[in-house]
């Protein structure tokens, strides 16, 4: 019961934080030189001040700042994030259009890096003194040190160009008319390379962290207690060592999860993945401020959401934290 209240409190706080972020972003954008009207007029080759004035009036840019802010905030309250004049679509629709692709990519990468990272880390910890443990750590170091875009390009060269196993770019094959399972399979094939590329870096971090954390946990007194009970070493590794070693990993997973909206720009660009990252990049280049603000809002909301989820997971894993919170 107390826990449910805690969650409500956290959500209330989150709304306030989000509100502040919106205001902050709004003013940050205002500080950038030029406004959308100037950019549009410039691109249209028009220098007529009257045309500029009309454009500004049309977008409400001639209003005092506080009026613009008020309009913007009251718009957000009704999920109206304004209109992207560049893309000729409401911002909300644009974002919702791209969101699934990004979440599919980053979500897959998240699960993959976390799952495989913990697995590899546990194996490396259990085989700390053996060759196989060192091999895992060496691989992790390689993935950790290699730049993301390089891995992406090389995997395209290897798996798409040379071996022709997987598609090199895009979200799905064009013009196949696949539906149902066939479509899912097609998307899945397209997903493998970008998701793996994105996952490798964090996987390497999870591997290293899990190993260190487990080796540390295995020195603890309760592990000796567990051994004195006559438990098999596999049980001790899983139930006593791994569980205690997970806490720092949860912290990191929370950070990674928070980046799920905005963290895949590079990967999406290399693999021509139609996600938020690319949308944001385009909006930035075109000074599509409404769209940028909208994306900022959603990525901030996601960071806050995952912060709360991380804290809740902490409470589930470690009863002491639940008590203290």
């Amino acid at each position: 019961m107390l826990y449910a209240r805690l969650i409500i409190m956290r959500l209330l706080k989150a709304v306030i934080v989000l509100f502040l972020i919106v205001i902050f972003n709004f003013f940050l954008i205002q500080m950038a030189p030029g406004d959308p009207a100037a950019v549009m007029a410039g691109e249209a080759g028009a220098t007529d001040p009257e045309f500029l004035r009309q454009l500004r009036e049309q977008f409400g840019l001639d209003q005092p700042l506080y009026v613009q802010l008020w309009r913007y905030i009251s718009g957000i309250a009704t999920l109206d994030f304004g209109y992207s004049y560049r893309q000729q679509m409401p911002v909300f629709d644009l974002i919702m259009d791209r969101m699934p692709a990004t979440l599919l990519l980053t979500g897959t990468a998240f699960v993959m890096s976390l799952g495989l990272g913990i697995l590899a880390g546990s194996m490396a910890a259990a085989r700390a003194k053996k060759l196989s443990g060192s091999v895992i750590m060496a691989l992790a170091l390689v993935f950790y040190a290699t730049p993301l875009f390089w891995v992406a390009l090389m995997s395209v060269v290897l798996f798409s160009v040379q071996l022709d196993w997987l598609p090199a770019y895009g979200f799905a094959s064009v013009g196949t008319g696949y539906t149902g399972f066939a479509l899912a399979l097609d998307i899945g094939k397209h997903l493998i390379l970008p998701a793996t590329t994105l996952a490798l870096f964090f996987m390497a971090i999870y591997t290293r962290m899990t190993r260190t954390s487990m080796l540390e946990a295995s020195q603890q007194d309760y592990v000796k207690t567990a051994r004195s009970k006559g438990l098999a070493s596999g049980v001790i590794q899983r139930r006593h060592i791994l569980r205690n070693a997970l806490l720092p990993i949860i912290t990191l997973a929370g950070l990674q999860a928070g980046q799920m909206v905005g963290g895949a720009i590079l990967t999406e660009t290399v693999f021509a993945w139609p996600g938020i990252g690319r949308l944001m990049f385009e909006a930035l280049m075109q000074r599509d401020y409404n769209l940028l603000l909208g994306i900022f809002f959603f990525s901030a909301a996601l960071v806050i959401l995952f912060n709360i989820i991380t804290d809740l997971v902490y409470g589930l894993v470690d009863p002491r934290i639940k008590e203290a919170s």
């Binding site: 805690l6 007194d221 567990a226 009970k229 569980r243």
Partner: protein, 542 residues
């Protein structure tokens, strides 16, 4: 399997355990031979580094990495424990040999419910089904005397006190009724009264289950309470082995004698007092409340760590503040050196109001009261050379670096560590580090030293040396000492005056001799009675 009562349950024969290269000696234990008989309590006694736990760990198959038996046998139930496979060893652990450890705070998995941790023992040996395991766990918790076992079984370790956790550990070790229970310093981390309860429990369970107990301890007081036989160890070798009665009454070896003497179990403090009557520290109605921050919906919790504490200390006096954990004694010490700020009350240091000082003026006065901390391992910065560690205080007070470092050299010599200023803390033993801590405190030429459990982490013989040093320095510099300890035996050795604290209040205070001989309060008597191996003093008192 012909087990007559004569065959020992466990027989160590010439056990030799090698330490990894680079250790301070080649063998942890050398040519170790002793038996553990059915139904007896064998105490293995020694100071840290004596190798007293090593044989036990070898028997359990829990030797640390790099440490391995190289010679000898450990015969248990007709098999040599040193030559069986890990799987065979695992089957013995928990089932036929149970073990409890020193640190109840860390020996339980913090993320698992107590009940689940007990049930695990049955699971490990494929016994009973889930429901039966829970029932059995509840029975065990009841048997080891945990209050509200139905609740405790669902509790996490952090919700239990140290004594309660140790009871859980015992319940776990007893789950499968092992023939041999190995207890590795199980009461060392506990308060005296809790220690007495746990010792009683172990004796009681040992009688009821008829098992053999191998009890490892550094404390001859504990030996006097429970041992059938004693094995005294020093530097990996047996010094003396015999019936507890004989060894205690008539120790043959000089080391055993020294150990027994080092424990002033029947020491009654001499009547003594400070030479002066100049008041140095005056504390009146000190209060300190710790509040856990409550949320909007959560009540804040309050702990009254200090409740109207008043006492005064004259120049040259040593006052002992004695109490169990949670009594507020450490908070009092920290308030006096102003590491904590009391909520209300008065505190004056030879006339200066020491309580309302803050900022720069506090910083200037701080050097007048210095502290020696409990943990000699954690209280020195591992990356600072000890000479510098000592000099930092004076340097902060404006003394030139060269001069401060030269003084540090002198101070190190004074505490018996000449020419060590350029070493790092890890190059010293625990006792030596505590000497450095003392030198550090002295560097600022304080009027009052607050020593918070300054010898609690040390072996008895080292304890005696450190106490002697403190006494010595006290005379030399006409210092006053506030000695915070949970150990009445230590307080008896050096304190003129004793303050007994409980739940943030002063229960009783008076000259040390009076407190020991004629305690006025029930709680003080309880503390005194709980001192292991101390029937004599109470006799004198009555």
């Amino acid at each position: 399997m012909n087990h007559t009562t004569d065959t020992p349950l466990l027989s160590l024969q010439g056990l030799t355990i090698a330490l990894p290269k680079g250790a301070d000696r080649a063998y942890a234990v050398e040519n170790l031979s002793y038996d553990v008989q059915r139904g007896e309590i064998l105490c293995v006694v020694g100071e840290s580094g004596s190798g007293k736990s090593m044989a036990a760990n070898a028997v359990m198959g829990l030797l640390p990495k790099g440490v391995r038996p190289v010679d000898g046998k450990a015969i248990f139930a007709d098999q040599d424990l040193l030559s069986i496979t890990e799987k065979q060893h695992r089957e013995l652990r928990g089932l036929r040999i149970g073990m409890i450890f020193q640190e109840p705070m860390t020996a339980l998995n913090p993320l698992m419910r107590v009940g689940a941790q007990i049930s695990e023992v049955f699971e490990a040996h494929g016994q009973l089904n889930g429901a039966e395991r829970s029932i059995k766990a509840l029975e065990l918790l009841t048997e080891v005397g945990l209050p509200e076992p139905e609740k405790a079984i669902r509790a996490y370790p952090f919700q239990l006190s140290g004594g309660q956790r140790q009871r859980v550990m015992i319940a776990m070790a007893l789950a499968l009724e092992p023939e041999l229970l190995i207890a590795d310093e199980p009461t060392t981390a506990l308060d005296v009264t809790t220690q007495a309860q746990i010792l009683d429990l172990i004796i009681d369970l040992q009688k009821r289950h008829g098992m053999a107990v191998m009890f490892i301890t550094h404390d001859f007081g504990v030996v006097a309470e429970i041992a059938t036989r004693v094995c005294v160890m020093r530097q990996g070798k047996i010094v003396e082995l015999g019936e507890a009665r004989d060894v205690l009454a008539n120790p043959q070896h000089e080391y055993t004698r020294a150990l027994i003497e080092a424990i002033p179990s029947d020491v009654v403090p001499e009547a003594r007092g400070a030479e002066t009557d100049t008041p140095l520290l005056d504390v009146k109605n000190l209060n300190k409340v710790f509040r856990s921050k409550g949320g909007l919906f959560k009540p804040a919790r309050e702990v009254r760590a200090l409740n109207d504490v008043s006492f005064s200390l004259v120049k040259g006096e040593t006052i002992g503040i004695v109490g169990e954990s949670g009594s507020g004694k450490s908070t009092l010490g920290r308030c006096i050196v102003r590491l904590e700020t009391p909520d209300s009350g008065l505190m004056s240091l030879s006339g200066t109001d020491f309580m309302t000082l803050h900022g720069e003026s506090l910083r200037r006065e701080r050097k007048r009261v210095q502290m020696i901390f409990q943990d000699p391992y954690a209280s020195l910065n591992p990356r600072t050379r000890v000479g510098m560690a000592i000099a930092q205080g004076p340097i902060a007070n404006g003394i030139p670096k060269q001069k401060a470092l030269a003084q540090a050299d002198d101070l190190l010599e004074l505490v018996g560590l000449a020419n060590t200023a350029d070493r790092f803390p890890h190059e010293f033993s625990g006792g030596q580090r505590q000497r450095i801590g003392i030198a550090r405190a002295l560097a600022l030429e304080p009027e009052l030293i607050v020593a918070d459990e300054a010898v609690s982490a040390l072996d008895v013989s080292i304890q005696a040396q450190i106490l002697e040093l403190l006494e010595d320095l006290k005379q030399k510099f006409s210092l006053s000492l506030l000695f915070i300890t949970h150990d009445l035996r230590v307080a008896a050795q050096i304190c003129d005056h004793i303050i007994v604290m409980q739940h943030g209040r002063i229960v009783e205070q008076g000259p040390a001799r009076d407190i020991f001989l004629a305690p006025q309060q029930a709680y003080t008597r309880q503390l005194l009675d709980a001192i292991p191996g101390r029937p004599e003093a109470t006799e004198i008192a009555s």
